[in-house]
């Protein structure tokens, strides 16, 4: 599952995120800025709303661009949601 997440995170480079994967399970501060930016926006929505936005996006409905967090992720906080700790 972590490998799957690694691949998915790596693909976010498409959105101008700087080197999103720095190592196995280690993601760059810029990825976490982007992730937290979306995550905080989604926390204010219901699951139904989130599902509807994802459906509109996958169907390439142009109005989906109205449902985006404000400002730009590059200035958002870079707190990691998790860290990989060697034991």
């Amino acid at each position: 599952m972590l490998a799957h997440l690694n691949e998915t995170v790596d693909a976010t480079e498409r959105f101008d995120i700087v080197m999103p994967v720095m190592g196995y399970g280690q993601f760059s501060p810029f990825f976490w800025r982007w992730f937290n930016w979306w995550d905080d926006y989604f926390k204010g929505l219901t699951l139904t709303q989130i599902a509807d936005i994802a459906r509109q996006a996958s169907e390439r409905v142009p109005t989906v661009n109205d449902y985006r967090p404000e400002n730009h992720w590059v200035t958002y906080r870079n707190t990691p949601a998790f860290t990989l700790v060697p034991t």
Binding site: M1, L2, W38, F42
Partner: protein, 138 residues
């Protein structure tokens, strides 16, 4: 002094960000520069000795105009490739990663994060001494 960081020959820098992190016994430096009319430029440096800094650019120097052309070109080549191999699940995954809208990719990241959390709760043996432990922010 930052060396080996690819920069445009002219123009105006709009913003510069330097992130310094301590990763185990290693210092990691990540630098992001945003230039007028240019895509984000970045460099990453990881070293155990601060006086041995050597920056490695992680992005090529691409103007925004050229970037648009490159994206159009790559998307057209991707279409023919995926059409030929779309029967395979792994190819469908790659297609998703290459083409999914931003919000869909975020949902995929969020879903993987949730499943990791669920696995960590339901299978505590995965956090044995032989394997790294995932620690989540509370």
């Amino acid at each position: 002094m930052v060396k080996n960081l690819m920069r445009p020959p002219g123009g105006r820098m709009l913003r510069s960000t330097l992130v310094v992190e301590i990763q185990q016994s290693t210092l990691a430096f990540t630098k992001l520069e945003l230039w007028e009319d240019f895509a984000a430029l970045s460099a990453v440096c990881t070293t155990r000795y601060p006086y041995l800094l050597e920056w490695r650019s992680t992005a090529s120097l691409i103007t925004l105009e050229m970037k648009g052309l490159a994206e159009n070109r790559s998307s057209s080549s991707r279409m023919s490739k995926t059409a030929a191999k779309s029967k395979f699940g792994i190819e469908r995954d790659k297609e998703f990663l290459l083409n999914a809208p931003e919000v869909c990719l975020f949902v995929a990241c969020l879903g993987a994060d949730w499943r990791l959390r669920s696995n960590a709760v339901n299978r505590p043996e995965a956090s044995s001494r032989t394997k790294p432990t995932l620690c989540w922010r509370i």
